[in-house]
Amino acid sequence: MTTTTLTHDEAHHHEAPQGWRRWLFSTNHKDIGTLYLLFALIMLFLGGASAMLIRMELFQPGIQLIDPDLYNNLVTNHALIMIFGGVMPAAAGLANWMIPMMIGAPDMALPRMNNLSFWVLPAAATMLILSFVIPFFPGGGTQINTGWTIYPPLSLQVGMSMDFLIFAIHLLGISSVLASINIIVTLLNMRAPGMTLLKMPMFCWTWLVTAFLLILVIPVLAGGVTMLLFDRHFGTSFFDAAGGGDPVLFQHLFWFFGHPEVYILLLPSIGVLSHVIPTFARKPLFGYKSMVGAMLAVATIGMVVWAHHQYTVGMSLGAVTYFMIGTILISIPVGLMVFNFIATMWRGAMTFETPMLFAVSIVLMFTFGGLSGVMLAVVPADMQYHDSMFVVAHFHYVLMPGAVFGLFAGVFYWLPKWTGHMYDEKLGKIFFWTNVISFNITFFPQHFLGLAGMPRRIVDYNVMFTEFNVISSIGAMVFGLSHLLLLYIVIKTIRGGKKAENRPWEGAKGLEWELESPPAFHTWTTAPQIK
């Protein structure tokens, strides 16, 4: 009988190890979710510190603090740590915590694989950090000065730290693929009876699509960097022009992964917004089905427009025209999502708690970043903007609000559920305003810098760019330091605070709010019935 098996399992789990063994051997989705989130928080500070060093160097023209190679090494590491160490694990942490609770499942479908997919991450992060550190030691070779895109031929010439980076990417990929398989299996097979796919909460939908995207593109990146490794050490010539290879092929492989990757970063946050906005507007999400459809459209078109990152490599006119039209088409379903969010807020009884403040700011700023994306998608315009600071401004405007602020919104929204304590609303609002204002001070001037011709990934710049760089750097210092406040708020909430009710937000809907705050170690051991 089912019930007896479950009680046996339960009884067994209650003898689960305590102390460090609880975390190392954990198969519990809540514990693993917590681990993911803590890991992402640490990486956020590492990546943030490298970004602050970059901005310190760019405070004035000339070379003051760091030499050009180290500068480019920092740029590379900042991107990789933030994307693979920060945003993706944080989104996976939210998924681990929330998906079983939202669909009424007792745990993830494959708990042991869940443990593996998390514990590969610290190893991968160690490799990644080593790839940054090794050149400083005697015999460590040259620094990784390629940027996160690791284009050959430069990446074929970098010293052994590139090999560490390649293996780090392999490990990070394995971790994400395992987590994705787990999430898809959970979502397809473990839903509570009566919960059809089209009754699934939006956050689950966004993760279902994200996980499929990950499964489709991460292996291609893994193949690409494997070829790079073979070119470096085993005499093949996939990308080495001297042996008949083509460096541009790597760009295609990389961006075949790299473009869907931006939707992988974006979609979980769109999922969070689809819960936060209805909650604080006290209205159901406008156009649930159109939202699902739009997301599927974004993911599908997003898979086949990768070469808009490489307009300048000399593709034929037909090819660039195709990639341009495809890219611009994506703005239609994305626009639909934005309109759905606005329509959800329309005439709602809105209140502006911290998660909602982040949500509203995302709708504004992500749209702004999307519009500069349309500018970049246009081939003749992109020939001017390519590899300029305009591109840097663009992708920070989509990635910070689109991915990171969405995750912040999710953390503030669900923190009372996870910890059983309300966070300090006043501090949350202070964090929001410093964060968002300093973000704009940092990145808005970079549009002007790019349009005036300042290239990205270069340590020095012409004196005519000084003023905007000074503004941007000052903003970046405030922006970076403001995250210490986030750390303080999170620690304070974990340690205590006003007791959170089961449903701390009056407008919140969904199965997760029927559980107590904090939820028991095992929840939904008997599946709820969905009408």
């Binding site: 009988m1 089912t2 098996t5 479950l6 479908a109 494959l110 010439q157 693929v177 994705s180 398989i181 898809i184 299996v185 397809l188 097979n189 473990m190 499964i215 489709l216 593109v217 991460i218 292996p219 291609v220 990146l221 893994a222 193949g223 690409g224 070829m227 005499g235 010539s237 996939f238 022009a241 001297a242 042996g243 008949g244 290879g245 083509d246 092929l249 295609h252 492989l253 075949f256 000399g314 593709m315 034929s316 037909g318 090819a319």
Partner: protein, 202 residues
Amino acid sequence: MNDPATETRDKNRRTTLLLSGMVVLMFGFGFALVPLYNLFCQVTGIQSLAQRSAIGQLAPFTDGIDETRWVTVKFDTTVNPNLPWEFSAATHKMRVHPGETYKVNFFARNRSHATVTGQAIPSVAPWQATPYFSKLECFCFNKQTLTGTQQADMPLQFMISTDLPEEINSLTLSYSFMRLKETEKGVRKRDPLPRIAATKND
């Protein structure tokens, strides 16, 4: 064995296997992209390395000289790290009339003490100008061998067609000098040499 827990476990196992299969397939797809990419380039006429060696193997243009028009031609040189040579152009930039024949000297020096053979691979930017750039005589038509520390002048004679599209008033001819490893054992499978020879006979 119809109890729901086992059923879910079986279902999970099936889905997991299916998804793992997808992962393996996509990993293979990454490698399949290598030949697919070459095929795609051939079909759509995007220049591959083999085709590039044919650049300038065009008959001289004989439409007379357009003295009213000036075109700037820039010369760019790269030496692949596998070739221990120095290679540079005597002039980096010149203004020319379409239809007239010009001569430029390039200079190469073997920095090693061994005899080394190399070949220069040309390319023209913007690529739209490629069919209008004719080389009458070029060191890149043949492989070049320099004995240890030998130096040599390498001449190039070229002509630009009067049909060069109006909007192009500046173009760059870029040379990449690569080492040929024909004499060494274990020639790379994808060594450019046979492909270059093949296209030249076309």
